[in-house]
Symmetry: C2
Subunit: 441 residues, 2 copies
Amino acid sequence: MSALKVGIAGLGTVAQGVVQTLQRNANLITGRAAGDIRVTAVASRSAKPDVDLHGARFSTDIMSLVGAADVDVVVELLGGEQPALDLCRAALAAGQHVVTANKALIAHHGVELHELATQNKVSIAYEAAVAGAIPVLGAIGRGLAGNQIEWLAGIINGTSNFILSAMAGEPSGSAKQKNSLSFAEALDQAQELGYAEADPTFDVEGIDAAHKLAILTSLAFGAALNFPAVFTEGISEVTVEDIEYAAQLGYVIKHLGIARQTANGIEARVHPALVPAKNLLAQVDGVMNAVMVGADGAGPTLYYGAGAGMQPTASAVVADLVDIALQQVRQPVAAAPMAYLGIEDIVTSYYLRVPVHDRSGVFARLTTALSELGISIEAAVQREHTRSAAKTPAGEAETVPIVLLTQDVTERTMQAALTQLQALPEVAGRIRCIRVEALEA
Amino acid sequence: MSALKVGIAGLGTVAQGVVQTLQRNANLITGRAAGDIRVTAVASRSAKPDVDLHGARFSTDIMSLVGAADVDVVVELLGGEQPALDLCRAALAAGQHVVTANKALIAHHGVELHELATQNKVSIAYEAAVAGAIPVLGAIGRGLAGNQIEWLAGIINGTSNFILSAMAGEPSGSAKQKNSLSFAEALDQAQELGYAEADPTFDVEGIDAAHKLAILTSLAFGAALNFPAVFTEGISEVTVEDIEYAAQLGYVIKHLGIARQTANGIEARVHPALVPAKNLLAQVDGVMNAVMVGADGAGPTLYYGAGAGMQPTASAVVADLVDIALQQVRQPVAAAPMAYLGIEDIVTSYYLRVPVHDRSGVFARLTTALSELGISIEAAVQREHTRSAAKTPAGEAETVPIVLLTQDVTERTMQAALTQLQALPEVAGRIRCIRVEALEA
């Protein structure tokens, strides 16, 4: 067999990981790919750093990879939109395969890039773009190929999961005592450890997770990639108080990407959610990722591992290269035009934390108001004084929270109810509302 | 594309599940496989049951599938050794692909069957043979193709996991109170629910898990299939008392299949093991399966789902059929001859429960004896009176258990130590010894 010649665009940590992996495991990979996979060229806009390229040529001209006789596959590890998009377009048009870890690129331009690949009879693969080392695209696309996928729910942003784990007081290392951090403290710690960027918006506000969910949704349901249809809400308003109330109700708060095929259309949404504490997803702590997939035959399956990092991401890139070497890239089925539900049309249950003036009968008045709005209560946490509760100077009643879990209701109904509840004289502050994900098929 | 014509041998629940799946998801599967996958023939030794075969011809002559013009792939779902082995041999020799869910067949005869497939330029695939619906062979063979696999540990027998979960008092359903069953009670319950056979030996004594571990070990390390090299110990001697002591030490007892590549050879062993309670494997309850894989680049990844059942197993069979339709079966790399370690050469830590006469100084004498034998203590559970403790008629000291976790030591050293400890005058009964699996790379 002839060797597969690889040109890498970018020379950050993941690119270095790919070079190292192909070198370190060369014999194993040659056996599995039925031929050598060799990095022949590396291109990076910055000058060549002090990295051993094991004989590959180096260029600061990224586009020099396009159409080069010594490059069968372009591995795009630049990140961002441009010049990554132009590079991938040109490589595919020149009849080169493309492997990328760029979730934003695929979420925004995947439809065009897949069409280009098909036209030019080459492959585009991006296992590394979703959940790092976890071969979850392969699991859905190949392992569950006999199934209709019904839903999926995943922890697909390690930064957010690290922060929520730290806020829940998950012990890092072997220390056993719980020590909950505030959101700001947890974010600081994530930044110190290199798990969060200086500007953490992309991770913390759910945009990164939404890119990945758009890709998962498209693959799972055979729907066209549709990033704008993904509802996105971050974790910056989750408080330790909510995490503690959720625990009392038997739940853990996780930042999930959720996709579901319903009779009325596809749900695709990223937001904090209460997850049953006994569910495996609730046990996924720190920067780890996991995706649970509900399928009509297989039932629920879960895929867990490192969602980012030099070596884990390189692992997924190399898996794609082996697929290309064996001509075994699984092309997604021509994407059908499918309707996506707006967030107002989803049906779920909700966690509500309602700050109220502590007068007698307030609990009954609140649940009566909810009932009149068509919302039933599933569970409530016994009221207790908040830590910050205090008599007002005028001697008015203290403020205490009422915490409720509702039964299933549409988001539209819930949002209308929140507006009305917020205006009640008993309500003393902003109502906090978090969706619940039961994780049942 | 022409259709892939499937002949199924056997018409039990899994076979019926395959027929149903290919019918139910026909449109999806045709799209994914780039052509129809059609059951054209079914053969079963018993008379045709009242099952809708959707037009497939039926025969009671299993060997009639071999070489038939309307059968491209033989799906062997007979179970057992014969006639399954003869059928698979003949089909491969006749140039037909083979898909099987038969773990015993592959564990014992996989080397021969793979050679036959290679000689005849056809494929043999058996995703359904290991961990049911979970696409774990695909994850290792494809998703982790860039990695050196270092170890794996899995809950790969649902019956044993159901029994251990019930003994640990894991609530079935939503009931929250713990209600631990004895081994015998849990086995009864498993049999009532159809999770255990009338003769449960294969599941409970670990033989089924050992078949699966032999397959996983071979794939993960590229080693020749070697079922006799798998050390096998079942769960019939695990007690609720041990489960409770393990919990006090921060562990859960699971029945694991463990494989590890060491400098001295391959470890492959099936036995009860103490697993850290925070590890995801410890959270896998009931009949569910999960396999954790430690790889040099990806790090630890975990694959979880239903390990058995009509639809889950059919899901894996159909995934193999789609691979065959697309000519994308990943053939394992020619298996290298590798040394397997005997159980006496493994290195691990141990849980010991030593029944002793409750005299002063007995704890010190025991740890001193262990120390002289080269075994250090990592942790101990405070002694307490056993429920069954009682003064002997002669008024001798009561019997109490001393529970210890050791540091790492070879099995040879531990077995020699157990022989010596057992003979100490302070030791009042049989010492119970269970291996600990730290689940770290």
